[in-house]
């Protein structure tokens, strides 16, 4: 098997080509923050939080493959500052009222604010108006809390195979939709499997009946499901 050598934060690592920087880093205990990445789903580089420095260039580590003699820096001051600004934009673009969220205390976005030391949001808050869709009998989506990571879209398409979730519009108008932008409760393709709920990193897609701070998700269910389907 072909072997290559990459340098991550000064550490020489021997690995094989075709793997992503993130995979290699995680395997060697080097922490890179992620949000749209989930083991078991394809990587799309949507959230940009996993950016690293490759010889002065910022690249998403979840979608960039390692190459021989590649030099990667995962935590320079510049990289950390960019990550924090990206996180600030995610907070500013939604209405993440953490105190009154079912996922309070179990939210990947909230945890990232702690990890990336986001003291405040320095860009102006957009305070958008979004429609909450509670037409599904068991689940609901509060788009105020959606970060457009697309994990629901990928879990639904790649693992469940239903392809109920998709994106509509672009830029600040972008949102996730069910079927051809119909009420979720009337989306004919939805199997009500709940995978979108488990993979959603915030309190955007949730189970009904959970109260403030009660919602705990199990995205690892998808990881295990994918493993079993691949390896039997």
């Amino acid at each position: 098997m072909e072997r290559i050598t990459v340098k991550i934060d000064g550490r020489e690592i021997v690995t094989s080509p075709g793997r992503t920087i993130l995979e290699v880093a995680v395997e060697h205990g080097i922490r890179i923050p992620t949000l749209c990445h989930l083991e078991g789903l394809s990587d799309v580089g949507a959230c940009r939080l996993c950016i690293v420095d490759v010889r002065g260039q910022l690249v998403t580590s979840c979608t960039t493959r390692v190459a021989d003699k590649m030099e990667v820096l995962t935590g320079t001051d510049a990289v950390r500052a960019y990550r924090r600004t990206i996180l600030e934009l995610l907070f500013a673009e939604g209405n993440h009222v953490c105190a009154f969220c079912v996922s309070n205390g179990g939210c990947e976005l909230q945890d990232l604010a702690c990890e990336l030391e986001m003291h405040s949001v320095t860009v102006p808050y957009a305070y958008p108006r979004h429609r909450v869709d509670a037409t599904h009998p068991r689940f609901l989506i509060d788009r105020d809390r959606c970060v457009l990571c697309g994990r629901c879209v990928r879990a639904c398409g790649e693992v469940e195979g239903a392809r109920t979730w998709n994106f509509a519009e672009r830029g600040s108008q972008a949102r996730v939709i069910t079927d051809l932008d119909v009420d979720w409760g009337t989306a004919a393709s939805c199997t009500s499997c709940g995978k979108c709920v488990e993979v959603c990193p915030t309190g955007a897609i949730v189970r009904k009946g959970e109260s403030n701070g009660e919602m705990r998700k199990k995205p690892e269910v998808i990881t295990r499901l994918k493993e079993r389907r691949t390896h039997g």
């Binding site: 009222v97 953490c98 105190a99 604010a113 702690c114 405040s120 808050y125 305070y127």
Partner: protein
């Protein structure tokens, strides 16, 4: 040692942050020996002392014209300004009205819903701003205490550090919203 001069203010918020401040238990007794508390909902004093204060903690978002004015006064009169809690830091719950028209909202709430006295509250109370703003959008803020409310221990840690002339070390779980 001269006592540290402290003020606290309450803008658009629920008073929960002040409750959490009072919830620092026996630290209150230690603190009482180290600070002089000037204008605050706790003392019920309304105006800043002429010579200003060392530290002001502000709970709540900036939601009306009076609060905007008071935020600017607080900045002028304080060496260190602290955003106390999620409403002051992010806008939080009060900011849920952003995107709605304040006049329409007031007409809807106080207009035809009130049977005894249909007057809209414009005379005796400050006008609402077009949108509720986090404190740091209107004045420079030195430290942000996250939480709804910030845990009592976090408030104690920050205030004790400042009283001792040190920089509060706010990291990791201290930065948890909600």
């Amino acid at each position: 040692m001269a006592k540290v001069r402290v003020a606290t203010m309450w803008f658009s918020g629920c008073a929960g942050c002040h409750m959490s401040l009072l919830d620092i238990d026996e630290t209150l007794i230690d603190l009482a020996g180290m600070i002089t508390l000037f204008n605050s909902p706790i003392t019920d004093l309304k105006v800043f002392p002429e010579e200003g204060v060392d530290v002001t903690l502000i709970e709540g978002a900036v939601g009306n014209e009076e609060q905007l004015h008071l935020a600017r006064t607080a900045r002028q009169k304080s060496k260190i300004l602290i955003a106390l809690g999620d409403c002051a830091v992010t806008g939080n719950v009060p900011a849920l009205r952003n995107g709605m028209d304040p006049d329409e909202m007031i007409a809807n709430i106080y207009g035809d819903k009130v049977t005894s006295n249909g007057a809209l509250p414009y005379e005796a109370v400050p006008h609402l701003l077009g949108r509720v703003r986090p404190l740091a959008e209107v004045v420079h803020v030195d430290y942000f205490l996250h939480g709804c409310p910030p845990p009592a221990g976090l408030i104690a840690k920050a205030v004790l550090a400042l009283v001792a002339g040190k920089t509060p070390e706010l990291a990791g779980p201290d930065l948890k919203f909600g």
